[in-house]
């Protein structure tokens, strides 16, 4: 057994090798590059699933985890140990990540066909897979952070993959900088955790002693005062999740990230990387839940719930097929975050997994539409159902899963979140976060069904609204992955059917997913009322969508019926003007400040002062020269002049006549004699 789990080290290594080989050697050979990337992710998938399924049958690994150290860095007299691990959460992720990656890698061969930087695309996505796989097998926060940033880099490179387009180039930068703001906050959280507990290793942090220690420890926070340390760590770490999982207020980068090739949107900006933020919160959940009455949980619940509803409203008024899905992703990530905020750990993880499958499916489907129709604007589409049947049917499955229609995957996971929030609300009353979460998520479910119905009807029903559209079905290399993902989107929900559910519950292993991931958490009891309401809301949303867009499909030149909402529609369409606000209030002032500081440095204060010192030096030495010339030299010359004057006078005595000298001698002798006689001795 142990030997197999030891191989977890290789999982991120395979795609990394593919990345390195493609980048260094096979850039010119597109075919070879494709196969290398496929082999890399394929091996990771085989090994990943082997390990995942073995772990599912091994309660010891699920409960205790298995650790495979890599290396240690000395820290004074101690060590910082880094390694990989397999545990319950990793197992769940290992089921999803490599498979979705593999499907998208296969699909990309068709979608990226003919691109001049085709090989580089496969290099980048392989590096990305390294990052995501590394992240889920890391056994400590530092290594997780490293892979987290590697993914950020790949996201930057792939969003700006078509960097000749200024919009793509700007979107890449925006994504990197925005997420980095979150990352810096997370970095601080990591530093606080590390310096408080002295470790970043998960199993040490979550040991009883450390958790107990964290419970007791207080920390002084500027402006806030002395507070328990655990919620501070949690909220700082959550900053990273807000950036990566595109939660309000750092969500602005994700819709722009749709500038990247569609497989990238599916892989990075729907299924895997953006859910890393949720994964982080789930991974660090014991810290978040350590003091549940402090701000750590309510902040998470509020941000998640707010984002879920807020992004869903924006999705209503977007015309770009990918942007609708992007806002939908933000909204669904909000569901997961909110779920964690009300303590629904298992439900959140479950939704993470199911969402990855159906959202990847929807994105790949939209990519297939774009590939076939040649546009991203839903207002130009219409009637694609007949021309692209496989795309249509698979897209429909994804849409029903997202809308939460039973028995598709999204229904089970979303319902579990709602049920848990409701359960908590019953415990805590109306003035509680669970109530807020339950309310906004239920409302969000309605909106989700509506905007998805809108998307499906606009894209696939009615007649085409563009004259130059010659849509065709995509090649098999693209449709097969759609079918595979659709199977999971339809059936995966059965892994998490509530235990009490008649027939299905016992049939699918008494909530199998909960047994894998949630050994430490009680199962959410089945609530028929909540379930009924959520189904009702989903169907209502779909029905409304049909009323507005399906009954009388939009014709060419007709405006979107939603424009009747007036200013509300304008506000939604412009995403509440948040981008404009950030640009005016943050970006431009920061750039202006930088320019100002440079002037301060170069023209106004610092360097002028240095030059002033230099000038004063020159001036002083000039002064010295004048002093030297007039005073010092003057003294020297003066002395010389005085000497000369004396010399002139004395010269008069130098007559050269012996008589005069004799006279002087006689007079001197007489004078000395006189002095000798008269002076008293």
């Amino acid at each position: 057994m142990t030997e197999l789990f030891d191989w977890v080290r290789l999982i991120p290594l395979f795609p990394f090798l593919a990345f390195a080989i493609i980048l260094l050697f096979t850039q010119r050979n597109q075919k070879l590059s494709t196969y290398l990337a496929w082999v890399g992710i394929g091996l990771a998938w085989i090994l990943g699933w082997t390990i995942a399924f073995r772990a599912m049958a091994d309660p010891h690994v699920l409960e205790e985890g298995f650790r495979a150290p890599i290396f240690a860095i000395p820290t004074g007299r101690g060590l910082l140990e880094l390694g990989f691990q397999v545990d319950a959460l990793t197992t769940a992720m290992l089921f999803m990540v490599p498979f979705v990656c593999l499907m998208i890698f296969i699909y990309s061969k068709g979608y990226m066909h003919g691109d001049p930087r085709y090989s580089r695309f496969f290099a980048y996505v392989s590096l990305f897979a390294t990052g995501m796989l590394g992240l889920i097998v890391s056994d400590n926060l530092l290594l997780l952070y490293i892979f987290w940033e590697v993914m950020g880099l790949c996201s930057y490179l792939l969003i700006g993959f078509w960097f000749e387009k200024p919009s793509a180039m700007k979107a890449g930068l925006k994504a990197f900088i925005t997420t980095r703001i979150g990352d810096v906050i997370m970095f601080l959280g990591m530093l606080l955790l590390y310096s408080t507990t002295g470790t970043l290793s998960f199993h040490e942090i979550f040991s009883e002693e450390t958790l107990h220690f964290l419970k007791e420890t207080m920390v002084w926070v500027p402006l806030v005062g002395t507070v328990p340390v655990a919620p501070v760590i949690a909220i700082l770490l959550f900053g990273g999740a807000v950036g990566k999982s595109a939660q309000f207020p750092l969500h602005v980068w994700l819709p722009d990230a749709m500038e990247g090739p569609t497989p990238v949107s599916a892989l990075i900006h729907a299924a895997t990387m953006v859910s890393a933020g949720v994964y982080l919160v789930a991974r660090m959940f014991p810290i978040f839940a350590l003091l549940p009455e402090t701000a750590s949980m309510s902040v998470v619940a509020f941000i998640g719930g707010f984002t879920a509803l807020f992004a869903a409203t924006i999705a209503l008024a977007q015309d770009d097929i990918k942007r609708v899905l992007a806002y939908s992703t933000i909204s669904q990530l909000g569901y997961m975050i909110a779920a964690l905020g009300v303590g629904a750990y298992v439900a959140a993880t479950f939704h993470l997994i199911t969402h990855a499958f159906f959202k990847a499916l929807l994105f790949l489907g939209s990519g297939s539409v774009i590939h076939g129709a040649g546009t991203q604007d839903m207002m130009e589409m219409g009637g694609l159902r007949k021309k692209m049947p496989i795309t249509f049917w698979t897209f429909l499955v994804g849409m029903l899963a997202l809308a939460g229609v039973p028995p598709f995957a999204g229904f089970w996971s979303k319902d579990e979140i709602l049920a848990h929030a409701f359960e908590e609300f019953l415990h805590k009353g109306v003035a509680s976060w669970p109530f807020f979460v339950w309310l906004v998520l239920s409302l969000g479910a309605l909106l989700t069904a509506f905007y998805m119905a809108r998307q499906v009807f606009l894209t696939f029903y009615g007649e085409t609204r563009s004259h130059h559209m010659h849509a065709h079905e995509s090649p098999k290399v693209m449709t097969y992955p759609l079918i595979a993902l659709a199977v999971f989107a339809a059936l995966l929900g059965f892994a998490g059917v509530p235990e009490e559910f008649p027939v299905l519950g016992p049939l699918f292993g008494h909530n199998f997913f909960h047994h894998v991931v949630g050994h430490a958490y009680p199962a959410t009891p089945l609530n028929w009322g909540v379930m009924g309401l959520s189904v009702l809301l989903a169907l209502t949303g779909l029905f409304l969508g049909w009323v507005v867009y399906g009954r009388n499909p939009l014709k060419h030149g007709q405006p979107d019926p939603l424009t009747k909402l007036g200013p509300m529609y304008t506000l939604l369409r412009n995403k509440y003007y948040i981008d404009e606000f950030y640009s005016k209030v943050i970006v431009r002032p920061a750039v202006a400040l930088a320019t100002l500081l440079f002037r301060f440095d170069n023209s106004w204060v610092v360097d002028p002062f240095v030059n002033l010192v230099g000038k004063v030096g020159v001036w002083l030495s000039d002064l010295g020269r004048i002093f030297d010339l007039n005073i010092i030299d003057g003294i020297v010359n003066g002395v010389a002049a005085v000497t000369a004057w004396f010399g002139k006078i004395l010269r008069l005595t130098q007559t050269g006549k012996a008589q005069n000298y004799l006279l002087v001698a006689v007079l001197t002798v007489l004078l000395l004699l006189g002095l000798y006689l008269y002076l008293p001795m």
Partner: protein, 500 residues
């Protein structure tokens, strides 16, 4: 007696430079090849030095010979886990600089290579000296060749830049000389190790503080720390490519090294007392340097200012370690901070060295460094783009590349000791990402292609050869940091335990 490896490393370049001096100046090829060959000797020896270093043993490879016995001045050299990586860095960057310059320097070849080898000796000398007078002599020797390298082979404002560099450094040196004499009069020795053990001015805090600030000034100018940094953008912008590489890669490290080898061991009490001041200056250097970088439109000046920011990390780690002197349970955090600082010194050498080479590559072709003049070069010069991207990412501290570890350890160590400084300092990380990706990568490489550069040629083989080793180290130490941290950590732990 053992093989005097440090003496050989230090003086082989001098010997080489003297031989170059005797060569006929029209034999340029021979001069170039000979100089490069000579520089390989210290490079290989420095690798041997690192391999043979017993990291737990403190100062090693010592040589002690009386030099001016009347005033107890000795020729005392030695190395430990602090200096060995820097000696290796010096040897590596010098060889690469000579190699690169052999293709780009066209006028006064003989003088250039003569001065460069002389410079190498000066730098080695500083890193191996364990006697104050010897240290000072090497410190000053390094100044002269760099003055001429900027002044003769530099850009349009080379004379202003050269004299500013020279005078500014000299001001610091004079202050240091006074302090050295003071320390001698107080302790009766010029030996750095002995003097540190005796703790000069231990009975008089005020005199100690004066000496501390005098030496601080000399090193802070060299690092450079805000507000003593303005010589740096001028010197870097005007210096020839290889001069900038050495200036940023090694000369700045001389200042940092001085803090570790002299100031901290000799004046721990004063350093502890004044640590908040140093930390504030370091944090200002980090954030302010990054923001001013972001305002640049000259590629070389941008990278020059980024050095101010990156050296701020080194000083922050050091200041944090000094801050916690005397509290017994902080040893781990102190060691981490200092490890980070030394690692950052090494990283900055390879990363900024590479960036200056890369500026040289584009400047040789385009004859401009104006960021607004480029655009869309990524598809035209993909190799250049790739290398620049790696170096830029290393510079902004991307995990997986060497730069990350230095920053991480510095902030980790600092956070445990003085969290507010670390929290403010991390703002620099965001701005660093902004100026690298926005100013450099986006303006030069992305967006629509600027047709003006239709004839731009990608990197030549010699340029690739120059950059490969640097990129290699960024990746190697990024993926497997214990390779270097093992060495540094032992030296830092030893240093700190001596101060407790």
């Amino acid at each position: 007696m053992d093989f005097p490896i440090l003496t050989v490393i230090t003086f082989v370049p001098l010997l080489g430079s003297l031989i170059v001096l005797c060569m006929p100046k029209e034999r340029e090829r021979l001069i170039k090849q000979f100089s490069i060959a000579v520089s390989f000797i210290p490079l290989i020896l420095s690798i041997l030095l690192w391999v043979n270093l017993d990291k737990d043993a403190g100062i090693q490879f010592e040589e002690l010979v009386a030099w001016i016995p009347a005033i107890h001045v000795n020729y005392h050299v030695g190395a430990d886990g602090l200096s060995v990586p820097l000696i290796f860095l010096t040897a590596l960057l010098t060889t690469l600089s000579l190699f690169y310059s052999s293709f780009t320097i066209k006028n006064r070849v003989k003088e250039f290579f003569f001065l460069f080898l002389l410079l190498e000796m000066g730098m080695f000398g500083v890193f191996v000296s364990l006697d104050f007078v010897l240290f000072y002599v090497f410190w000053e020797i390094g100044l002269v060749p760099m003055y001429f390298l900027i002044g003769v082979w530099g850009g349009p404002r080379r004379e202003y830049a050269a004299i500013k560099f020279f005078l500014y450094t000299l001001v610091g040196s004079v202050a240091m000389l006074l302090a050295i004499i003071g320390i001698y009069l107080n302790t009766g020795t010029f030996d750095i190790i002995q003097a540190a053990a005796l703790r000069p001015f231990v009975e008089n805090f005020t005199l100690g503080a004066l000496a501390f600030w005098a030496i601080f000034l000399a090193f802070a100018i060299k690092v450079p720390m805000f507000p003593f940094h303005t010589w740096l953008p001028d010197a870097h912008v005007e210096a020839p490519t290889a001069g900038s590489v050495i200036l940023a890669g090694i000369l700045l490290k001389l200042g940092c090294y001085g803090f570790f080898r002299i100031l901290l061991p000799m004046f721990p009490e004063q350093f502890h007392y004044f640590a908040p001041v140093v930390a504030v200056l370091a944090v200002i250097s980090i954030v302010y340097g990054a923001m001013v970088s972001m305002a640049q439109w000259d590629l070389k000046k941008l990278i020059a200012y980024s050095s101010v920011s990156h050296m701020g990390y080194v000083m922050l780690g050091l200041a944090a370690a000094a801050f916690a002197l005397g509290s017994k349970d902080m040893l781990t955090s102190q060691a981490i901070a200092m490890n980070g600082a030394v690692f950052q010194m090494f990283n900055h050498g390879i990363i900024t060295g590479a960036l200056f080479f890369l500026v040289g590559v584009i400047y040789e072709r385009a004859h401009t460094r104006d960021l607004k003049a480029f655009g869309g070069l990524a598809s035209k010069v993909p190799y250049y783009y790739g290398i620049m991207l790696v170096a830029g990412l290393a510079s902004l501290g991307l995990p997986g590349l060497a730069g990350f570890w230095g920053e991480f350890f510095v902030f980790r160590g600092t956070f445990a000791i003085a969290p507010v400084y670390a929290a403010v300092g991390v703002i620099g990380i965001v701005f660093t990402a902004a100026y690298i990706l926005w100013k450099v990568i986006q303006h030069v490489f992305l967006g629509p292609f600027n047709e003006k550069w239709a004839d731009l040629r990608d990197m030549d083989t010699y340029e690739k050869i120059t950059l490969w080793p640097l990129v290699g180290f960024m990746v190697l130490f990024g993926l497997y940091p214990p390779l270097i941290v093992d060495t540094i950590n032992a030296a830092m732990t030893r240093l700190l335990s001596g101060l407790m």
